[in-house]
Each structure stands twice: as structure tokens, then as C-alpha cells.
């Protein structure tokens, strides 16, 4: 980011302050913990996906059978579709709203300090609490949302959570509501790093606020926005709390995203092998998206 850090990193003078043994000792605990509690479970998940286990008793090796069952089951494909819809829609909304909010705050809009603090609040409260509140608010007739809509003359009997085709909408709304704050802060950080002289130059060239946004702010903040988008996609794809607290994947299987399906396969149908296979499929997909995306984005970042 700055020239000083580039000079400091890899500074030979500093290396003499700590020999290899010390560095190893300092960094080992973190690496060991990671290996034990992140690395090993991944291996174990793959092992389990090649077995048949009912949650109690011994594992039975079945090779790739779980994968063929899972991938040929129409429910899996439907769940993947639901998950992609949910993640894509949420991410787009999160990014668009967060970017606009960040543009507003970085341009020094009125009360921007207040906004910085307040707009992150939904991300602080436990998502389970927010989801329970919103599930209540979305109920027809007695829910807060319907009451407000009714007062505005837009009808008060909407039952979004009851209709299969629409049940995903309240879930997306709550996901966006809880996630915008975090994305907003990161994107704001990136926007604030933009040199104000660039804005001056644009202003002198006669550009108004909107065109300054398009020609200066967006291009320079783009790498960060792209990375936040990828991260939000990964987190929403992986999201469990909001859906479980609001609909448990229902009605029917309308909001059964992959994490919900994995949980149900494991803890309701006691098909732990299949659940593991499902999670490996989803995990592999995400790791691919994540690593590729971060490589593309990270190369421009520092």
C-alpha cells in the first residue's frame, strides 16, 4: 500500500532480530491449530463421504456410491439451484446497496459518522435474533411488516413465507439486511483511500457528482468491490443461520439450500455419508470460486 511497508517487509536488519527457530516457535501454534481443526476435518469429511454411517456405530466403506446417489438425485440439483439463486440475489443486492451507501458516506454526506456506526449495527446483533424477529414480522395480518404495509394501503395479508415460490424473498431480504453493514465498511475503506486530487481533476473537467462516481470512484474501488462480492457470495452460499431460524428449509423444500440439505440429511435422515458427500461437492465448488476469485482480485490489491 505505501512505500514504507514495501521497504520494511523482508528487511534484512529485522531478520537478524529473530532466528528461524524463534519464527517457527511463534508461528507454529497457529499453524498447528489450523491443521488440526480445519485441515484434518476436511480430510475426514472426504473420508466420510466415501463411507456409509448412520450416526452411531461403525463406518462402512462404499466408495463413490454416495456421490452417484447424491448427484443423480433431483433434490440435490434443485437445492443447488436454490442455493445459487439465493447467493446470487443476495450478493448482488448486498454489493449494490453497500456500494451506494459507501459512496454516500465517503463523499462526506450529511451525518456520515453517524451512518458509519449505525449502518453496521445489523451485523452485530446475532443473526438468529434478527431472523426470529423478521420471521415474526413477515407473518400475515399480525406481523409488523404486514401491519406497516397495511397502513400504507398496500394490503396486509401477504404471506411470503407460506408460498413456495416466494419464500426465498423474505430470506434474501433478511440476509441482505444483516450483511450490508460489513460490506459497506470494507468498500468505504477502499473508497476513502482514493486520492482526493483525482476528484479535483475530475471536477475541474466539469464532471458532476454522478459522473465522478462512475469515472473515478468505481474503477478505483473495483478490486475491493470484486473481492467483497466474492466473499459475500461464498458466505451466503454457505449460510445456514438465517434460513434455519426462519423457515428450516420450508415450505416443502423451497428454501432448502445446500447447507440446510446437508444438515437434514445428516441429522434427520441419519445419512451422514451422503451429507458429507453433499458438503464436499458444495465445498469444492466454493473453494474453486473462492481461490480463483481471490487470486484475480488479490493480484491487483497490494
Amino acid at each position: 500500500m505505501t512505500t514504507t511497508s514495501a521497504a520494511r517487509s523482508g528487511n534484512p536488519g529485522r531478520a537478524s532480530q529473530a532466528n528461524a527457530a524463534t519464527i517457527a516457535l511463534g508461528t507454529m501454534p497457529a499453524l498447528i491449530l489450523l491443521l488440526a481443526l480445519v485441515g484434518w476435518p476436511i480430510v475426514q469429511a472426504v473420508w466420510l463421504s466415501l463411507s456409509d454411517w448412520g450416526g452411531v456405530g461403525d463406518l462402512k466403506w462404499v466408495g463413490l456410491e454416495n456421490y452417484t446417489t447424491v448427484l443423480s438425485d433431483p433434490r440435490t440439483l434443485r437445492s443447488l439451484g436454490t442455493t445459487l439463486t439465493y447467493a446470487t440475489a443476495s450478493t448482488c443486492l448486498i454489493i449494490v446497496i453497500a456500494t451506494l451507501l459507501a459512496a454516500y458516506a465517503s463523499a462526506g454526506g450529511k451525518g456520515s459518522n453517524f451512518h458509519r456506526i449505525v449502518w453496521f449495527l445489523p451485523g452485530i446483533a446475532p443473526a438468529a435474533a434478527a431472523s426470529i424477529f423478521w420471521a415474526n414480522a413477515f407473518q400475515p395480518s399480525t406481523g409488523a411488516l404486514n401491519l406497516i404495509l397495511g397502513a400504507l394501503g398496500m394490503g396486509s395479508r401477504h404471506a411470503w413465507l407460506a408460498e413456495g415460490s416466494m419464500a426465498l424473498i423474505p430470506v434474501i431480504v433478511v440476509t441482505v439486511w444483516t450483511s450490508v453493514g460489513f460490506a459497506f465498511l470494507i468498500i468505504l475503506g477502499a473508497m476513502e483511500q482514493i486520492d482526493s486530487s483525482l476528484y479535483e481533476a475530475a471536477r475541474i473537467d466539469g464532471a458532476n457528482a454522478v459522473s465522478r462516481f462512475w469515472s473515478v470512484t468505481l474503477p478505483l474501488a473495483r478490486p475491493t468491490i470484486v473481492i467483497v462480492a466474492i466473499l459475500e457470495f461464498i458466505w451466503t452460499f454457505n449460510g445456514f443461520t438465517v434460513i434455519w431460524a426462519m423457515t428450516q428449509g420450508g415450505p416443502g423444500s423451497a428454501t432448502s439450500t445446500l447447507p440446510v440439505l446437508v444438515y437434514k440429511q445428516a441429522f434427520q435422515f441419519t445419512q451422514f455419508g451422503r451429507a458429507a458427500a453433499l458438503s464436499v461437492v458444495g465445498g469444492a465448488l466454493l473453494l474453486a470460486i473462492g481461490t480463483v476469485g481471490l487470486m484475480l482480485g488479490g493480484s491487483r490489491q497490494r
Binding site: P29, L37, R116, P126, A128, I132, W177, T224, T291
Partner: protein, 280 residues
């Protein structure tokens, strides 16, 4: 000219609308938490009706023989303390000492954690269950604290290493010249000066612990061992005839952590933007 005023006006209205959208649910939670069940059915916006602060006592103690928020609160504190301790001890130390690595190795070291930060939790929940069961530490909040410490380790390391890269090294070099070893320098010179960043990462860990459910729901099945977010999921089922107490429970779950955030908001936002992409 008019377009300019209009656009500025609409922009401010839009910002204000989002602010309202963000605040109103919390206001509603608070208002509804003071109403009786009948009042909530009469008016779902909490207008009118008597004030019932007893709802908070009910939510705190639990219905009948069921678990109340007090148990969940205490468990969350235990988990948070363990998670923060392990995370900071391992993470801050690793981040500091990683700055001594050559550029190539430092990048590799960080990439390990970057990749780890995107590993989907769904992959890990079943193996977690197997290991914890085999070790006999299911339903132990402190054991879950360790899991959380590791899950948030990438966040801590990414933020702290960004901080330490910009850290003024003259002090360390001076101490080295005086004969101080690297550990002594770390503990007595570097750490005291890292208070701001360390506060930021510890609060991020706290926020994560306070909200995580996917792993918690697997590892904490006994309601007496559950943390606040996990307990909330079954809390719903206990208060179906007293919605006021349910909202009181939501308030107890949310307001303290929000208060902590409001007090430390500057450190937290600085930490997030500094680390780039903290991760949850």
C-alpha cells in the same frame, strides 16, 4: 440546477431510509418486549397496551423447567473468553513473527490462512462432531471456544499482520541492540503498543462468537450448554404463548453486544478496514 438539488435530496432520503430500515427492527424488538401476548396480537406494532417489564425476568429465567437466557448468556461468555484467549495468543504471535519471514515465505504463510478463511463450514461440521464426540467434549462450551478460536484465526492473522507490517521497527531494533531477545521485545514492547489493533480483533472474535450457530448447533445439543445464538433457535419454541418474553429474549441477546460495539465502534471499524476482508 434543479436536478442537482433533487438528486442531493433523493440521495439523502435514500440514506435516511436505510438508516430507518436498520434501526426500526431493534426499536420494535424493544417495544414488543414490554407487551403482553394479548397486546401483541391486538397490535403487532406494540402500540397501546400495558408495560410488562416482567417479560425480561421470564426470558432470563426460562419457562418452567426450560433454559432461560441466563444460562445461554453465561455459556456465551465462557465460549468468548476461551475463544479470544486462544485466538489472540496464537494469532497475534503468529502475525508478529510472520513479519520476520522473507517476502516469499510470508506470502505463502498468509495464503494458507486466506484459503482457510474461505473453507465452507458445512464441510467441517460433521467431522467436528465426530472428533468432539470421540474426545468426549460434546456439550462443553470451552471446547466450542477452541473451535471458534481456530475458525476466526485467519481473520486475526490477516488484520494483525497488516498492522505489524506498518509497525515502527526502530523500537525493536533499539531493544535488540541493548541485548533483548525477540520474545522479550514482543511481549514488553510490541504488544503494549498494539492495544488498538488487538482490541479490534478481539472484538471481532467476540462478535463472531455471539452470533455463530451452524457449528454451535452441532456441538452444543444439551440446552444447558448452549450459547446465546444456538439457544435462541429453541427459545422460539418455548415462548409461543408469551411472545413478549420471546422479544425480551431477543433483546437480551442483541442489546449488550450492540452496546459493546457502540462503545468500541472506532476500533472495530478501523480493524475491519485495515485487515481488508476480516471474514466472519
Amino acid at each position: 440546477m434543479i436536478a442537482r438539488i433533487l438528486s442531493r435530496g433523493t440521495v439523502q432520503v435514500a440514506a435516511a431510509t436505510w438508516s430507518i430500515l436498520v434501526i426500526v427492527p431493534f426499536v420494535l424488538i424493544f417495544v414488543l418486549s414490554l407487551r403482553s401476548n394479548a397486546d401483541i396480537y391486538a397490535n403487532g406494532l406494540g402500540v397501546g397496551g400495558t408495560l410488562r417489564p416482567e417479560n425480561y425476568l421470564a426470558a432470563w429465567a426460562g419457562a418452567g423447567a426450560t433454559t432461560g437466557m441466563s444460562v445461554y448468556f453465561w455459556n456465551s461468555i465462557v465460549v468468548a473468553v476461551v475463544a479470544m484467549t486462544v485466538n489472540l495468543a496464537a494469532g497475534v504471535t503468529a502475525a508478529y513473527f510472520s513479519t520476520f519471514l522473507s517476502e516469499k515465505w510470508r506470502r505463502r504463510f498468509l495464503n494458507v490462512f486466506v484459503v482457510a478463511s474461505v473453507v465452507p463450514l458445512i464441510l467441517m461440521i460433521i467431522p467436528f462432531y465426530q472428533v468432539y464426540n470421540a474426545l468426549g467434549v460434546l456439550n462443553q462450551p470451552w471446547a466450542v471456544g477452541i473451535a471458534y478460536a481456530v475458525i476466526t484465526l485467519p481473520t486475526t492473522i490477516l488484520i494483525m499482520q497488516a498492522f505489524y507490517v506498518d509497525f515502527p521497527k526502530e523500537l525493536c531494533e533499539a531493544a535488540a541492540l541493548d541485548g533483548a531477545g525477540p520474545w522479550w521485545t514482543y511481549l514488553w514492547i510490541v504488544l503494549p503498543l498494539s492495544k488498538g489493533a488487538v482490541t479490534a480483533v478481539s472484538l471481532l472474535v467476540l462478535i463472531f462468537v455471539w452470533g455463530e450457530t451452524q457449528v454451535g448447533v452441532i456441538l452444543l445439543q444439551d440446552s444447558l450448554a448452549q450459547t446465546v445464538p444456538v439457544g435462541l433457535l429453541s427459545f422460539q419454541g418455548q415462548w409461543t404463548t408469551n411472545l413478549g418474553a420471546l422479544f425480551a429474549g431477543l433483546a437480551i441477546a442483541s442489546f449488550p453486544i450492540m452496546a459493546i460495539y457502540l462503545i468500541f465502534s472506532k476500533q472495530i471499524t478501523k480493524g475491519i478496514t485495515m485487515g481488508g476482508f476480516g471474514g466472519r
